[in-house]
């Protein structure tokens, strides 16, 4: 450890590695008993509370759909895209795929989903 030397990491390298890794992941839903949910008949959005972290989140239809699908079985982001094709007609397939992956990572940060590698 050199005095005064800042420790810097190759961020771009890490980012590229990350993208590759994400698309190979098998996603599953964590047990829902660690969360509290509240929904309203007239609203498409749902609010969720994580008992473990104490954080509150707003879940819009896409994350809710992903959670519903993962509740049935673990999936990859590719298989999730296939299952949601009918709902995602407004968006280009590439964009939809990226959107699904981003949403999955956000759900992971919240603690609602986890992944395993193949």
């Amino acid at each position: 450890m050199e005095p005064g030397q800042d420790r810097v990491l190759p961020q771009q390298q890490l980012d590229r590695q990350n993208l590759l890794i994400v698309s190979l992941r098998i996603w599953s839903r964590t047990p829902l008993d660690q969360f509290l949910f509240k929904e309203w008949a007239e609203d498409d959005d749902v609010v969720a509370f994580s008992k473990r972290s104490g954080d509150t989140h707003l879940l819009s239809p896409l994350p809710l759909a992903l959670l519903a699908l993962l509740g049935k079985s673990p999936e990859t982001s590719r298989s999730l895209l296939d299952k949601l094709t009918a709902e995602l007609t407004q968006i280009e397939p590439d964009e939809a795929f990226e959107l699904i992956e981003t949403t999955l990572i956000q759900l992971q940060d919240i603690g609602l989903v986890t992944h395993s590698s193949p």
Partner: protein, 305 residues
């Protein structure tokens, strides 16, 4: 005994000794100050509030006094002290009363965790409360100040105290904080309103405080049933429009606008959920207070129908 029963000399004396207690139900504050202008502002703005005996329990010990040391003579500044510890940055002495108000808001927001404390105006009619949460630029204070002169009772312009056990909401009916153009708007709308001298150059611009209506002060111990959550959206020259708002979005906004939502944890989530369930959620776009008066009357009537 009320503030109005104290002579100026007595008031200044008590402030100097730190023996002035002010009943800000559900809290009591003990106030000390060496600034004479503060005494006259308190006399004007808190005239109808009770003064408990000095041997009573006080929730907060606050002081707004001149800075100590050399600065006191060079460029007089006032400082807010919470139980003897200075808080916030020093401000010019003429901002002393505004500083006291902000300081008291901080005391309640930082310590009053028996309530969910919502950054909102709260007004009441026929036992029903309208909660007006306050993101920036919403015009909440102007709307509140206007409506409380159209038959609505003031619970609060800043801090809604939602009592989880009872599901009722409380307010302290303290002076209403107005700034910049809203000062002119309210002076025109309510010519008889009693206000402090406008205080220019604060961090919020020109600020003035309006004395709360006497009836509101007298009834302040009575809570109200939360019935509507209305997000005000002041928009220049806009026609008044009351629209339904997403409950989930209102939930997130309320959580965000509550000072102590996070402190309440799981309990807080359930509490806000309960509050949303009790109320209908709206967004209100307006530019004229006259329109607001009519719109809120409609809201009230609509609920009775």
């Amino acid at each position: 005994m009320k503030v109005s029963d104290l002579s100026t000399i007595e008031l200044v004396g008590r402030l100097d000794q730190g023996t002035l207690l002010l009943d800000l139900h559900p809290f009591v504050a003990r106030i000390r100050s060496d600034i004479p202008s503060l005494a006259s502002d308190i006399a004007a703005m808190y005239a109808d509030f009770e003064v408990p005996d000095p041997d009573r329990f006080a929730d907060f010990h606050v002081e707004v006094s001149r800075e100590h040391g050399l600065r006191r003579w060079i460029k007089p500044h006032a400082r807010f002290y919470f139980d003897g510890r200075p808080s916030f940055i020093p401000l010019p002495v003429h901002q002393a009363f505004a500083m006291l108000e902000w300081g008291l808001n901080w005391c309640v927001a930082a310590h009053g965790h028996q309530y969910l404390i919502i950054h909102a105006a709260v007004i009441e009619k026929d036992g029903k409360a309208a909660i007006l949460p306050a993101p920036p630029g919403s015009g909440k204070s102007t709307l509140c100040a206007g409506l409380i002169h159209c038959g609505w009772r003031l619970l609060s312009d800043e801090l809604g105290l939602y009592d989880v056990e009872s599901g009722l909401i409380f307010g302290m009916a303290r002076p209403v904080n107005l700034k910049n153009t809203s000062l002119d708007v309210i002076k025109r709308f309510v010519p008889a309103a009693i206000m402090t001298e406008p205080v220019p150059d604060t961090t919020k611009g020109t600020v003035g405080l309006m004395r709360p209506p006497e009836a509101s002060v007298q009834q302040r111990r009575e809570p109200a049933q939360p019935t509507w959550i209305v997000l005000p959206r002041y928009t220049r020259d806009a026609a008044a429009m009351m629209q339904v708002h997403s409950p989930a979005q209102t939930f997130m906004l309320l959580a965000d606008q509550s000072f102590n939502y996070d402190v309440h944890g799981e309990h807080g989530f359930k509490t806000v959920g309960r509050l949303i369930d009790q109320c209908s959620c709206h967004q209100f776009t307006y530019s004229r207070l006259e329109d607001a008066d009519r719109a809120f009357q409609t809201l009230l009537a609509g609920d009775l129908a």
